[in-house]
Symmetry: C2
Subunit: 705 residues, 2 copies
């Protein structure tokens, strides 16, 4: 714990707040179950698990477990010490934590059924007064410790614990879009905690707390710099910056998190002094091999490279007449011997010109570029595919590339930072959106190929897969600006570990841990979170059409903001109708990229789901949706309704005054009020725009001006 | 001359380039007419006139006049000296320059008819081989010197000169919107030449050259800081900055230019430590009187204060329940004893809310605020009224306030800097626009009350009046970014001196002085300048509706950019029509602010001039203009045509390669090419927008997409 977690720093502790239990009698009784904690492991990760448990239980119950002598060393110099060496270990109620290999007593308690845990799983069993957390690895034990604390904080009765968990996904990654000047691309919570003024500059205590937050949800990898790696960031792979990067890696390592770097494909030229970055050039290959060797000398468990190439003016293999596979494989070869990965982003499109091009459908780009390359990538390459074909809109169909490549490792990329979903000034709990993506049936193998089974590798039998997402944190005390936006970071990690968790269950876990066990607070917060995505969607761009935002910064309504621009983001609204014809029959053909019956569903004007209708079809304003409303009336109704519901969020939050910490309360209330005002602006701009275009009045006679 | 006027610094000398005459035989002969120059005046201003003539004639003819002994002192240490004292004076052809009071021979030459010249006028007469420039004041003599040089540079035969000139307007002012951080609000030619890094920081040689340029056109006042005076600029009126401001004033003084300061109405609070800025508060009055005394102690001919109050969130008397007259008069009282003016801007409107308000017509604001105050202002207050009711759009009607106040001093405000007219990346010669304004018949007194006669004071017998305009210069070597944008600064000064000059005559003067006497160049440049306003108007917002620009920076097309914003700048386009109903009968009533028959002309759908139709009326797309075209076809035709004509400008300029200095050529060519591309973008955005709204295809079948 560092000094930032003081009074007046509400929000900093986030979901690791370990609020004191409100029922002090019950609390006292429960605390007796954890009189001591012990482990025979001696590594930093198990020490971290012990420290966390001592802190968590101590804060929640008012009495910290004594660290038994055998575990004293593990807790390190600063942990509380048992006054009676060995007295507690094994006698009376307590906690055992660690690896099976090091702890004979854990092997005794769990017996033989533990193989299924894998490298990162854990088992928890309460037996004979001892709560045992066992794993094959120290990080498994750490995950188990966080899990036990989560159960205690959310009020689960832990007397009959019998838990076996392992993560669904191998790769559970966070991408920081942080720049070395201290700014964060699409960051809405202050400046970077990693960089400042063109230097790597961080507070180790804050980085450790970030690692704790991430590890508590199960995150195991972090790319620490922006995928748009600019001139100075290009040099991260050279010697100058490596000592500081290694310090960061060492902090994350304790929490089971491997560090990756976003690289600049042109680095051999920009910082290597070579005349080319051609991936087939022998000098280029050698240069990258040397960089990999340097990095692994400093960071033995380095995770690998994250690459955005040949997209939005980033350099890449196309310059040299090479393809994505040749580019990725060259880097993969350099990392292979060290166990590193190449994570290659599929957000690939380029504007061929300075002016709009309505013939090319940008939605097609990822599929068109990558499908032909299936099987061409090395085993340590993973393609990182955005959840939708465009760019993190509030509503998009699922990317047709997910599941389409049978012989290629894939991770799905989400955006935790709310670039298009209110920039942490509007409440938008994104877990329901991600659940929709994960549960989407790709039909890759008939009827049992949802996205979550594609990216965990099981559909196509891939050894590697998982999740990536863009972080939403910054140097703001509460990490995420909007206090409730923490739920998105938390929820992402939890889903990456277990995509079967419901959005509501995650919301409830988060609320109870963050605000304590007051049910009134938790219920209100869960309701607000669960409503928020629908509210946001209702007052912004309708029916999946997207992009009605201000260019560049992407905050606030601008119906035609992207309509006359070069980015391939058009809604084609005219006086008769709106929407993009992406059918095979008469449109861009994008609908045909889907597998099996999905293609037909989207192709069909009648079958296409309402919420995606304008993404796939250009539709007259008078067309009746499945809801029975016309398109234009749907627009009016959802926008009037959405603005009212946004105002309701502010009221609901106001009802919690005095029940949540004052800092959090004030911070969030100001944002809810901004959201309510801003939702009215959204309502009026969208409604006026479509009223003026269509000339159709609101059936219910409300004022559109 | 300073060292910036070297090779490779083309553009710096602007219209004072004094190109060598191309016909060397004629040149030689003419130069004989100016063998010497003499004056009995001894002040800095006449010295400057002599220096200018020596430099100008020397450069143009290859032989500088000898400064006669009697004038040697006047030319100062650095002027060329006559080798034979007194030998030249009065013998053979030469130039006499100075005041009648100091020069007996001037009195002899001109006789008695010189009273009409006033304080700033001059007379030129060539008689008996002597070219005489006489005036009542040194600055009159300076204006005469510049005029003679203009005649020589433009090739006027000066053997029979008989010229009497006096300025039409008393106040001929430039407003610098320069900020002390070195930035310039709406500046498109580099940073400030006055400020840098929160300090007053200038190169005296450059300021002197700016003063020369201004004085050569007749400018006699300059407000040196942004009308939006911020915290540091508020302190210009206190002691700290005055020594440096006095240095600037001293440079301008030599060239007959009085210095003014833009003030912050809240300065008594912000820098004076008073609890209020209430104009009726005794302490506030005293504070301003003290400031005025301080300033005049440092700058005896200080011009006065320029004030933007109670507009766009600037502080003003409204805060204290006072009106504009009370605010202005309080400042005027403080300045009165010293001979200073208060120039009070009428660009007054405020957004009452954060969101749009379609009921209030911002166009009405200046008239509604100020008309009731007629007669309430002190004699040393001048109202500065923007040429149109909105904000320097390419086409607006003339402000109805101009001429409406009989007992109030008025100056018309133009914008030389091209905020809404292409930002010195597009060519837009604004003199024709200003001429339209100046020639507009206000009907204040029946049929002989054009704006130019209102602002020169003659219509209502006001002692004070004139022109103000926002400068377009910055630290770019060529002053204005686009080399041809210099013509706007030149033209503004010339019009302020003499509003009867034609736009074409001014263009020709400017071209010949700037690029030399090559007729091919001058003819091409004049043609381009004269076409440019119409070209710019044709591809931007149609028929006077304005505001189809990107918010904030105001560059480039954004048809709905201001349509849903709070600034009162709406075009009301819907599927049926476009334009703002400002009639009395059914609209905002703005048309009724005009005097006499003008009100009826604008009120009438049939009589309203085409070019202002959408400013005054909401019109169906199918309405036939007086041109015979429908509104929608007019939009299509002008936009297709405008883009073609913009491309033609680039071609015409390209034909001058080798005939204009290479730096100018390259600089302008790059801008013409940008303009041509950008005009296509304008064309496509506007046409597509209206095509989608109206559904009416182009009669001529051109592609609108």
């Amino acid at each position: 714990m560092n000094e930032q977690q003081q009074e007046g720093q509400a929000g900093y502790r986030a979901w690791l707040a370990y609020h004191p239990r409100m029922d002090s009698a019950a609390s006292k009784e429960e605390s007796l179950r954890y009189a001591w904690i012990a482990s025979d492991d001696r590594d930093d990760t198990v020490r971290a698990a012990i420290t966390e448990i001592v802190e968590g239980i101590g804060t929640m119950y008012g009495a910290a477990p004594r660290i038994s002598a055998t575990a004293t060393d593990a807790a390190g110099e600063n942990g509380p010490r048992d006054s009676e060496p060995n007295a507690a270990y094994g006698a009376g109620p307590g906690i055992l934590v660690g690896t099976f290999a090091a702890n004979e007593r854990l092997r005794d308690i769990f017996g033989v059924e533990v193989a299924e845990l894998g490298r990162e799983g854990f088992a928890i069993r309460a037996k004979d007064g001892v709560t045992a957390i066992g794993a094959h690895t120290p990080v498994g034990a750490l995950y188990g410790a966080f899990h036990l604390l989560r159960l205690l904080a959310t009020g689960i009765d832990e007397s009959e614990l019998e838990i076996v968990e392992r993560p669904a996904n191998k790769l559970r990654m966070i991408n920081q879009w942080d720049n070395i000047d201290g700014s964060i691309e699409r960051g809405y919570a202050g400046s970077s905690i990693f960089y400042k003024d063109d230097e790597i500059d961080f507070d180790p205590a804050r980085i450790r707390d970030y690692a704790r937050l991430l590890a508590s949800t199960g995150i195991n990898a972090i790319a620490i710099n922006n995928v748009n790696a600019h001139r100075l960031e290009s040099r991260f792979v050279t010697g100058d910056y490596l000592p500081r990067i290694a310090e960061l890696a060492a902090i994350f390592r304790v929490y089971g998190i491997r560090l990756l770097l976003s690289i600049n494909f042109a680095a051999p030229i920009e910082v290597g002094g070579l005349p080319t970055a051609d991936p087939l050039d022998a000098d280029v290959k050698r240069w990258w091999r040397e960089r990999a060797a340097d990095i692994y000398a400093a960071i033995p468990d380095f995770g690998g490279f994250l690459v955005k190439a040949d997209s939005e003016n980033r350099p890449g293999p196309f310059t040299y007449g090479r393809g994505h596979a040749e580019g990725a494989n060259m880097l993969a070869e350099a990392l292979e011997a060290h166990g590193g990965l190449v994570v290659w982003r599929c957000f690939v499109y380029n504007c061929k010109q300075d002016w709009r091009d309505r013939k090319t459908d940008r939605a097609r780009a990822a599929y068109d570029h990558f499908l032909p390359l299936d099987g061409a990538f090395r085993d340590n390459v993973v393609l990182q595919i955005k959840n939708g074909p465009m760019d993190f809109q509030v509503r998009e169909p699922v990317s047709p590339l997910l599941g389409a490549m049978e012989r290629t490792n894939q991770v799905v990329e989400f955006q935790i930072t709310q670039e298009y979903t209110g920039q942490q000034r509007h409440l938008c709990y994104l877990v329901p959106q991600w659940k929709t993506v994960l549960d989407f049936e790709t039909r890759a193998l008939g009827e049992a190929s949802p996205v979550k089974r594609v990216v965990d590798g099981s559909v196509h039998g891939r050894a590697l897969g998982g999740f990536a997402a863009v972080s939403n944190i910054g140097a703001d005390t509460n990490w995420t600006g909007h206090p409730l936006a923490q739920s998105n970071l938390y929820g992402y990690g939890r889903l990456a570990w277990n995509p079967e968790l419901s959005a509501e269950a995650i919301a409830e876990e988060w609320a109870l841990q963050t605000f304590g066990s007051n049910r009134q607070v938790a219920d209100a917060v869960v309701d607000m979170l669960m409503d928020s995505l629908d509210i946001y969607e209702s007052y912004t761009a309708p029916l999946g059409v997207g992009w009605m935002v201000n260019p560049n910064h992407h905050y606030g309504p601008n119906v035609d903001g992207y309509e006359y621009d070069k980015w391939g983001t058009y809604h084609f609204a005219d006086r008769d109708g709106v929407g993009v014809d992406r059918t095979v029959l008469s449109g861009t053909g994008y609908a045909g990229q889907y597998m099996g019956a999905n293609a037909g569903t989207y192709e069909s004007f009648a079958e296409c789901p309402d919420e995606l209708l304008l993404f796939f079809h250009h539709v007259p304003y008078g067309h009746r949706l499945k809801s029975g409303l016309t398109v234009i009336q749907h627009i009016y109704d959802t926008h009037f309704d959405g603005a009212l519901r946004a105002a309701g969020l502010a009221e609901r939050w106001a009802s919690l005054e005095g029940l949540v910490p004052a800092d959090d309360y004030d911070e969030a209330l100001a944002r809810f009020r901004e959201q309510a005002e801003h939702a009215k602006e959204w309502r009026d701009r969208i409604n006026t725009y479509f009223y003026r275009k269509s000339g159709v009045p609101d059936e219910r006679g409300r004022t559109i001006y």
